[in-house]
Every structure is written in structure tokens, then in C-alpha cells.
């Protein structure tokens, strides 16, 4: 029998980024008792890294913007396999969610008449991103955190959840440990919200931190939830490539929003070479028109650098593969050129992109006001995740809710930049609201001592094996990351992905032999070992879903099926855990879109 402490809440929120905090705030506002568990300290979650802005059709900068335009931009960007209802709710509710942040103390950059300023971003027809320089995520998480601490939320910092607890079909809590001392904890709750973010640590080159090990995806999957769209992983076109130690760190799309251009080693602005058919009408024909767009000319169309991320990333890969890349295997992103167009260009760059200026100066010895940056694609975001009800965010498992990156639906095959922060707010709020409602309508469930005992026993096994006999957790993780990067990366092929599945099997076996040294107090080796099963589960889900979708669409590019197919335009891939414990996969038809929304999409085409 495992030794553990028990906490009881009405609603337990797992994860304290934008979605988790917003859910916790909403649930506590309803009046239920809320507990929040997070792997890091409060305010350090990945939301803090978001740079560019929050997409919301406030129409402060361009009054032609409204929810219909935002909705159709989101659907077009997602190649129409998005959940249309989530895209609708998101477009309609995002402006209120942003204004609410201002009421809680957020200080966004301003327009000349004193309203919230909005900037251009890829795939958005009008300037739509509310922002604070290039540190919007910090502003958002700090605002939510500072508001949340006065709401009476119990925060359990530096805790990791190992398993969700069930009573029959229903989720009734979670079991985990505190990272500081390694003591086991049971969190009983009437409803649980997963808000754990993404899976980027399954890949070698990533903009994601150690936390992003697919915990929520995996916890939900193990508890009986379905995962959809797992093949769609966003490779952000612009990550740092040099020096090696910073490879993958994000370079905000805001650089391109402010007029930054992509060039190859021949100095050619290659993004003009390949403009997808469905974006031709919206894209500038000349460099001059593109610049006018960045300067706010309403008659100009956006430059091709602001096409969607999936497309820009592929164009960069094409240039590099054709031998036209930079010395360190990237391409050039240049913002310094705008000095020739703007009188105070240098100051403007420093004011609008301060953390990019700082980041390159300090980590790469490059002054971005004087020289171009070297950039290349980096694993950034997973569109796929837990399948939830579009309005309530509840998974198919009663009592289990999910919001933010670990939930799926709104983004389809590719997410537009800026839509993540607004997604966190809109669906974080909804998850909190409906989880609180569920909690009010249900009592606490029973706790299964056997499930707890078994989980605790397995968690401690690596200590018994020790480092001399066992595998190193760091080495197994590294091998998985390299294997996924090589075989299930930006360009995919059936044979490579078959190799990946074999690789995952072999790594799963090695993961069972991991040994760690030291004791249970803040032991990163042990923590890495315990996060690994989650990474392996999501890696398998990504690979199986990518194999299943025999076409190229959005973020999924199949070398062996390079075109879109009408057959796959109608389906989502669905992964779930079968009765035999093995991963199952099927295709489900997309939900039928409402007539009025169909017309909105047609009108905006």
C-alpha cells in the first residue's frame, strides 16, 4: 500500500498555462473549490514564451474585421478539417476574452486613439493580434496569475500527475507526486480539467521546454478519451539554427508581421516563388505591395512571408534541400532592411521586437537591426489532442475536460499564429465553467486503492534498478527525439514511419529497464523517466495518425502522397486505447457544418 497525502477539490485543473489559469479562474468565480497542479513554478508555463499576440477580431486597426472574417481565416488555415463549431465560438468570443484581460490589468500596446493595438500575422486577413511588443505571452500569463491568486485557488506547484483516477466510467481525481520531495499525492475531485499543453519534447529540434511531454494527451488516452488529428504537428518556420545550443528556440512570426523578409543564400526572396492557389487572391504581387500592407495600406495585400506556417516551413525546407540555404542549414530572415524604408528603423525594430533583439544579441552575437538572422523550422505546436465537446470541452469520459493545446478541434490541419493564445482564453473559460457545473451536479467518486498502489509501485521501480544495471532516462529520451525527428518530421514517408513504429516498440522496452540514481528529492533523472511513457504514447499516436492520413494537408506533408485527397478532406483520424490495451485507429466523418457558416466561408473565399 502506497503512502500518500490526500487533497480534495471540486474541480482539479492540471496545468497552469493560459488555459489552466483561465479555467481555474472561471471555475472559482462560479463558487466551487478549485485546485491547480503544475509541473513548474506558477507563471513559468509555456504560455510565457508566446511572443506575437492574441488573435481577436476587435477591429481596432481595420474596421473591416469581424468574427466572420476571423472564422473563415481560421478554417482556411486549418484546411477545413477544423471543428467548425469551435472555430465559430473562438472567433465570436475572443474579443471579449481579450478585453477581460485588460479589465484584470493587462497593458497592451495602444493605437493612436488609445485603444488596443493590433498587428499583422500569417493567415490573418487584417491586423488582428493584440500584443505587447514581442512578449505577449508573459503579459497574458502574468495577468491571469495575478488575478487568479486572489480567487482562492489552491495551487500545488511543482507537482506531476502520473494517472487519472476513475470510478467506473467517470474520472474522479488524479494521482501524482511533488517534485520537491517525491512524496505521493492523491487529488480527489468531482471534475478534472486537463490543460497540459503539447508534445514538442518528442522531437529533437523544438521550441518547447522540458515540460512538453504530452502528459495530458497521454493521461486522457489512458483514461479512455479519444485523440484526434494527431498527425498535424506544427513546425514553426522560424526557429534559431545557430549556435547549436540554441537550435530550435523560437523567432516570433511578429518579425515577418513587422516587415521581415525571407531570403536564400543567393539573396532571392523565395516566398514569391510558390503561392498556394487558395491564397493567391489575398497575397501581394510585388515586394512593394507587400511592404505597403505592412505599413497599413488597406488596398494592399499581404506579403508571401505571411502565408500560413505549414507552407512557409515547407518552402524553407525546399530551399535548404536545394542547396540554397545558409551556412548552418537555415535561411535568412531580415528585418534590418526596413531601415531603408523607415526613418527611425533601428529604434522601431528595438521597440516592436525587443526580446528578439535581446535574444540574438546575447545568444548569437547578432544585432538584428544590422544583419539578418539565420532561421529554420522547429517543432512548435500540436494541432491534435483530446477530442472534446465543442461547447463544454468535456471528453467522452464523464468528468474529464480539456482545453488549450492538449485539446483538439479548433485548428484543423494547421493553426494560425495568434490563435493559440485566444484558444486558451476562450476554451479555458468554457472548460472551467462546465467543469464547475459538472462538479455542482455530482458528488465525489470512490478511490481505487489498487490503481494507486500499482502506479506508485511502478513509479519507484527505476530506483531498484539503479544506474549500473539500468538504461539512462536521458539517453532513451534523446534516442526517441532523434528517431521521431528523422522519421516523422516535416516530410513523411510510409517506410520511414513504419521504421518509427518499430523504433517506438524498442524504446518502450528500453524505457521499462530505466534505472536512476539518488533519492526521491528533486531528482530530474527520475522525473525524466516518469515522463517518458507519455512521450512514447504520443509519439505512437502521431505516427499512426500520420500513416493513416494518406495525403498532404496543412502541417502533414507526405512525400508518397504529395497532394490533397477528396477522401481525406472529409475525415478526422481518431486514436484510442482498445480493450486489449493496444492503440486503435479509425477515420470519422467531419461533423456537418451549419448552412449559415458554410455561406460565410463561401463569401470570404
Amino acid at each position: 500500500m502506497a503512502d500518500y497525502e490526500t487533497f480534495t477539490h471540486d474541480v482539479l485543473v492540471i496545468g497552469a498555462g493560459g488555459a489552466g489559469l483561465r479555467a481555474a479562474i472561471e471555475a472559482s468565480a462560479v463558487g466551487v473549490k478549485v485546485g491547480m497542479v503544475c509541473k513548474s513554478l506558477l507563471g513559468k508555463a509555456h504560455t510565457v514564451m508566446a511572443e506575437g499576440g492574441i488573435a481577436a477580431a476587435l477591429a481596432n486597426v481595420d474596421d473591416r474585421d469581424n468574427w466572420q472574417v476571423h472564422f473563415s481565416d481560421t478554417m482556411r488555415g486549418g484546411q477545413y478539417v477544423n471543428n467548425w463549431r469551435m472555430a465559430e465560438l473562438h472567433a465570436k468570443e475572443a474579443p471579449a476574452r481579450v478585453r477581460e484581460l485588460e479589465a484584470w490589468g493587462a497593458v497592451f500596446d495602444r493605437t493612436k486613439d488609445g485603444r488596443i493595438l493590433q498587428r499583422n500575422f500569417g493567415g490573418h486577413k487584417y491586423p488582428r493580434l493584440a500584443h505587447v511588443g514581442d512578449r505577449t505571452g508573459l503579459e497574458m500569463i502574468r495577468t491571469l496569475q495575478d488575478h487568479g491568486v486572489h480567487q482562492g485557488i489552491d495551487v500545488h506547484m511543482e507537482h506531476t500527475i502520473l494517472t487519472l483516477l476513475k470510478d467506473g466510467d467517470r474520472v474522479v481525481g488524479a494521482f501524482g507526486y511533488d517534485r520537491e520531495r517525491g512524496r505521493f499525492k492523491v487529488f480527489r475531485a468531482k471534475a478534472v480539467v486537463l490543460a497540459t499543453g503539447g508534445i514538442g519534447r518528442a522531437f529533437k529540434i523544438t521550441s518547447n521546454s522540458w515540460e512538453y511531454t504530452g502528459d495530458g494527451h497521454s493521461l486522457g488516452y489512458q483514461a479512455g478519451a479519444e485523440l484526434i488529428d494527431m498527425e498535424f504537428i506544427q513546425f514553426h518556420p522560424t526557429g534559431m539554427v545557430w549556435p547549436p545550443s540554441v537550435r530550435g528556440i523560437l523567432v516570433t512570426e511578429g518579425v515577418r508581421g513587422e516587415g521581415g523578409i525571407l531570403t536564400n543564400k543567393e539573396g532571392r526572396r523565395f516566398m514569391f516563388d510558390d503561392i498556394p492557389e487558395n491564397y493567391k487572391a489575398q497575397t501581394a504581387e510585388s515586394e512593394e505591395e507587400g511592404w505597403r500592407y505592412c505599413q497599413g495600406d488597406k488596398n494592399a495585400r499581404r506579403p508571401p512571408e505571411l502565408l500560413t506556417r505549414d507552407h512557409v516551413a515547407r518552402c524553407i525546407v525546399r530551399e535548404i534541400k536545394a542547396g540554397r540555404g545558409s551556412l548552418h542549414g537555415g535561411v535568412f530572415l531580415d528585418i534590418s532592411w526596413i531601415k531603408s524604408k523607415l526613418p527611425n528603423g533601428e529604434d522601431y525594430i528595438k521597440r516592436k521586437l525587443p526580446s528578439m533583439y535581446h535574444q540574438f544579441k546575447q545568444l548569437a552575437d547578432i544585432d538584428i537591426t544590422q544583419a539578418p538572422m539565420e532561421v529554420g523550422p522547429t517543432t512548435h505546436y500540436v494541432m491534435g489532442g483530446i477530442r472534446v465537446d465543442s461547447d463544454t470541452q468535456m471528453a467522452r469520459v464523464p468528468g474529464l475536460f480539456a482545453a488549450g493545446e492538449c485539446a483538439a478541434g479548433i485548428n484543423g490541419a494547421n493553426r494560425l499564429g495568434g490563435n493559440s493564445l485566444s484558444d486558451l482564453l476562450v476554451f479555458g473559460k468554457r472548460a472551467g465553467e462546465f467543469a464547475a457545473k459538472f462538479a455542482q451536479e455530482h458528488s465525489l467518486g470512490g478511490i481505487d486503492a489498487a490503481q494507486i498502489g500499482e502506479t506508485a509501485r511502478r513509479a519507484l521501480e527505476p530506483f531498484d534498478r539503479g544506474t549500473t544495471a539500468g538504461e539512462s532516462p536521458y539517453q532513451v529520451q534523446k534516442d526517441l527525439q532523434e528517431m521521431m525527428q528523422d522519421n516523422v518530421g516535416i516530410v513523411r514517408r510510409e517506410d520511414e514511419m513504419a521504421t518509427a513504429l518499430e523504433g517506438i516498440d524498442a524504446l518502450t522496452e528500453r524505457a521499462q529497464r530505466i534505472g536512476v540514481e539518488g533519492n526521491r528529492e528533486f531528482n530530474p533523472g527520475w522525473h525524466t523517466a516518469l515522463d517518458l511513457p507519455n512521450l512514447l504514447t504520443v509519439s505512437e499516436a502521431v505516427t499512426r495518425a500520420a500513416l493513416e492520413r494518406k495525403e498532404s494537408r496543412g502541417a502533414q506533408f507526405r512525400e508518397d502522397y504529395p497532394d490533397k485527397s477528396a477522401e481525406f478532406a472529409e475525415v478526422n483520424t481518431v486514436v484510442w486505447k482498445g480493450d486489449d490495451g493496444r492503440m486503435q485507429i479509425r477515420r470519422d466523418a467531419l461533423p456537418e457544418i451549419r448552412e449559415d457558416l458554410k455561406r460565410v466561408i463561401e463569401e470570404m473565399k
Binding site: L41, R99, S209, I249
Partner: protein, 261 residues
């Protein structure tokens, strides 16, 4: 490839010692990279906090060669590598394990500071108007990534351990951001003087020097707050005037913006 030696403090609340680890150094490496290499190959259980690896989250604070630094933003080619690089935990907080300290006091302090209280919205749609010029200063303070290096270096906390009487530079900056927020109507002058202990700060500017976000903590936040406190308490005419004005300004909290749908 050349190698370098890192003298890392290993231990817990009960005590510990420095241990030397040698690892290879490549172009562009930062201190955190070296710690990760050592962790992966020589000391699997070496405890350190980190997240973003780009100076944006403020997790990896430590003292490198005696200087409070973010490990992710400290380049090895800026350090003398002919002798061991020492890495130890922040000294103003209780040690937990290796490079990790117990920073929970900071979170408790923040909770006690009166929350943001905006004036009623300026427009019928529930929104406000503020000019960029009026928020530049507040935006400077809101760049803070809560790395707590300013707390670590503040002698009131580090040497004199006045954690129960002084909130430290981080929370004076936080209070300044609230006090100078154009929409805020709350009054925090009394608590600044009493509960927050602003008088303990004798403006040695150590906090400003270590701030990785280059916030002018002393000049832009602490000194203006000290002036407000002085005006409030030691200027009798101003005291009466402000008392009246503040009472007039006190208005009920505004309703949240309406739902859009």
C-alpha cells in the same frame, strides 16, 4: 573541442559541498547547456530549474562565479574557462537541493499586495482609452520575468534576512506597476510604508544591476514610490489634499465587459 570544469554546489537543506565536473565546450554554449550535459552524463540527479532557455521565464536563476545570473543567458565565452566555473544556488532563499532554492516566500508576498482595481470603463462597450506614452513606464515594469535575482542580491534580504518586514525589489516593482497603471484606483501608500517596508531600501541599486530585463528598478520604480510615501506622510498640506482627492476617486469596481455572443 576544448573542455571546462564546473564547480557545482551539491547538497540539500542540511548541507553540501562543491563538486567538480568536466565537460566539453562548443561554440555558443551557455552555462545551462553545461549543466544539462553534466546532468545527462555524469550526475543524473543534479537538480536545477529551467523552462524556456531563452531568458523569458526566469526559472534558471543561480550564482555563476558569485554573480546572480540566468544560466540560460550566460555565455561560456564570457567567462574565464582556465579555472573552474562555480555554480551555486541563490543565497537569499532556503536551499532545497543542489541549485534549487525554496522561493515560495515570493509567491506569498505577492498575494498580500492589493490587487488591480480599474476605474469604470471609458466607453460604452466596456473598454478603456490609454495613450502609449502613459503606459510606457508600466510596460517597463511588466517586463519582469520573476527570476528573483533582484531579491537574491538585495542586502536587506540576503544579508539581513528581513523577509518578514521587507518585500524586496521585485514586489516594489510590482507595486509600482499597479500604482502607475493609468486605470488603477487603489491606494497602496500605507502598505508600502508599513507592511512592505519600503524604508529599508537605501537605493544601492544592486537590484538594477542584476536585472536580466534591464528594468530600472531603483530609478523608475523604487525612488518614485519613496517620493509618494514621503509626500503622503511628511507634507501636511499635501496630505490633507490627497486624502480628500482619494476619497473622491474611490468608485465602485466596474462590471466585466459583456459577453460578445
Amino acid at each position: 573541442m576544448k573542455s571546462a570544469t564546473f564547480r557545482i554546489w551539491r547538497g540539500d537543506a542540511s548541507g553540501g559541498e562543491f563538486r567538480d565536473y568536466t565537460t566539453e565546450v562548443s561554440e555558443g554554449m551557455v552555462v545551462l547547456d553545461a549543466v544539462h550535459d553534466i546532468q545527462a552524463t555524469q550526475a543524473n540527479d543534479l537538480a536545477c530549474r529551467w523552462n524556456c532557455k531563452a531568458g523569458k521565464c526566469g526559472s534558471c536563476s543561480a550564482e555563476v562565479n558569485g554573480m546572480p545570473k540566468l544560466m540560460c543567458m550566460t555565455r561560456l565565452n564570457d567567462l574565464p574557462l582556465d579555472k573552474p566555473v562555480t555554480i551555486e544556488p541563490m543565497k537569499a532563499f532556503p536551499r532545497l537541493k543542489d541549485l534549487i532554492t525554496d522561493v515560495s516566500w515570493n509567491f506569498a508576498v505577492k498575494k498580500r499586495i492589493k490587487r488591480f482595481k480599474p476605474r469604470p470603463p471609458d466607453a460604452a462597450d466596456g473598454t478603456w482609452r490609454m495613450s502609449q506614452q502613459d503606459i510606457d513606464r508600466v510596460q517597463e515594469f511588466r517586463k519582469c520575468i520573476e527570476c528573483f535575482l533582484c531579491q537574491d542580491v538585495c542586502h536587506v534580504l540576503r544579508d539581513h534576512h528581513k523577509h518578514d518586514q521587507f518585500v524586496g525589489p521585485r514586489y516594489l516593482v510590482y507595486t509600482a506597476a499597479l500604482e502607475m497603471h493609468p486605470l488603477d484606483t487603489e491606494d497602496r501608500i500605507t502598505e508600502l510604508r508599513e507592511a512592505q517596508g519600503i524604508g529599508y531600501c537605501n537605493i544601492t541599486k544592486c537590484c538594477t544591476k542584476v536585472c536580466p530585463e534591464e528594468i530600472h528598478i531603483t530609478d523608475n520604480a523604487i525612488i518614485p514610490l519613496k517620493e509618494r510615501v514621503v509626500d503622503d506622510y511628511y507634507d501636511p498640506l499635501g496630505w490633507v489634499w490627497k486624502k480628500i482627492r482619494r476619497q473622491q476617486e474611490r468608485t465602485p469596481a466596474p462590471a466585466m465587459p459583456n459577453e460578445h455572443e
